[in-house]
Assembly symmetry: C2
Homo-oligomer: 226 residues x 2
């Protein structure tokens, strides 16, 4: 009987971890689709991202509910409690990544008729591929409780910040030289900002991997260095 209950409990924990990974996969697709829509001027794909966003919101509410119900029914402690708490925090990060993907999709629609040279999208594409790598690695580290990969994500965030700042400087230069294109470049800056924020969320997710494994809160450990 005791074993039976404990198996059910393990199943419950595994279920919320699996659902979180499913939500993570959906979020990753949203980010990729939104960026592809922006670079390829693909209005249909952008609109699709905006529609899927509401499904993600539903996901968040349901998954949060399941976590609360596990705490209420199973009264987890120590490592199991850290798992549930981490999942609840990561849900928020994933939902906010979904919001950022939605913002990129909005910008993709604003930029449909934009007269921006392909060259100027290259900085955006580079940040996109860097951020997707971070997000994949963060989710993978969460699934496998892999501290080493989690730490790599935290390191990679610096590179994204640097690339982002360079892109903004480049856009500002373009606006100074082409004042008639200010509106388009502001949209491109917004979309890049959204990507940079997605990188921050991937970093948050990685910090919860370390919290789960080591029971140690590494958030802001280096905040005095920033």
């Amino acid at each position: 009987m005791h074993k039976h209950i404990s198996e059910q409990y393990d199943n419950d924990l595994q279920t919320i971890r699996d659902l979180l990974m499913e939500m993570g996969g959906l979020v990753e697709t949203q980010v990729n689709d939104a960026c592809t829509a922006l670079v390829n001027h693909d209005v249909e794909l952008a609109e699709q991202v905006r529609e899927v966003e509401s499904r993600l919101n539903q996901f968040e509410v349901e998954l949060d509910d399941q976590c609360v119900s596990i705490i209420a029914k199973r009264q987890p402690t120590a490592g199991d409690l850290r798992t549930v708490v981490s999942v609840m925090k990561v849900i928020t990060d994933l939902e906010r990544i979904g919001d950022e993907a939605d913002r990129i999709a909005k910008m993709a629609i604003d930029l449909l008729d934009a007269d921006i040279l392909d060259d100027h999208y290259s900085g955006f594409k580079a940040i996109h591929s860097g951020v997707i790598k971070m997000l994949k690695r963060a989710l993978d580290a969460f699934a496998r409780l892999d501290v080493e990969n989690a730490l790599r994500v935290i390191e990679d965030d610096h590179d994204i910040d640097t690339a982002y700042k360079k892109l903004v400087r480049n856009c500002i230069k373009q606006m100074e030289n082409n004042p008639d294109k200010v509106e388009d470049y502001v949209s491109l800056i917004w979309a890049s900002r959204a990507l940079e924020r997605i990188g921050d969320h991937a970093k948050n997710i990685s910090e919860y991997v370390i919290y789960q494994v080591k029971g140690q809160d590494v958030r802001h450990a280096s905040s005095l260095d920033n």
Copy 2:
């Protein structure tokens, strides 16, 4: 004995609510100081905001710890569990409001020597006062579990979004006419964007008031309208 434990338990719950309010007060001051620094070109105040930010991060970690320890020790259910979960979610929102205040302080430093007419700060000032009103009301609603005021915050968020969009349009016009001031106006847009995000977080906090009182998750209830 039972009464004694239950009193301790109530004290624990009250303690995390009180600490959350203290964190809320600190965050509110940070937002006000950052905006004042920006409008008054006050470098000392801006630097002070940036220093206090690390204290807020510490607050977040400690308060999260206390919540986890209450769940582990007291194993709350139903309404009490909703309280602890809400506090944990609101901690994240408050910490991110602190991040936005820090971003505004950074922009205040970037804008120290900016040649922006006082008139153009007026849109920013209006959003600042609207957002602070929302934040105060959201925290007050959380302290008193006041659903009516929480709903008002959610309504007010629309006005902030409208004012923000108007300010961005105005800045874009300024940049088109004064390409030499592009960099300054981009900074002003960033700072306004940070304020708009603070409004979103105040809205999130209000949604957790309703979740606590009614046990009903209102997040994204109107997401299809957006």
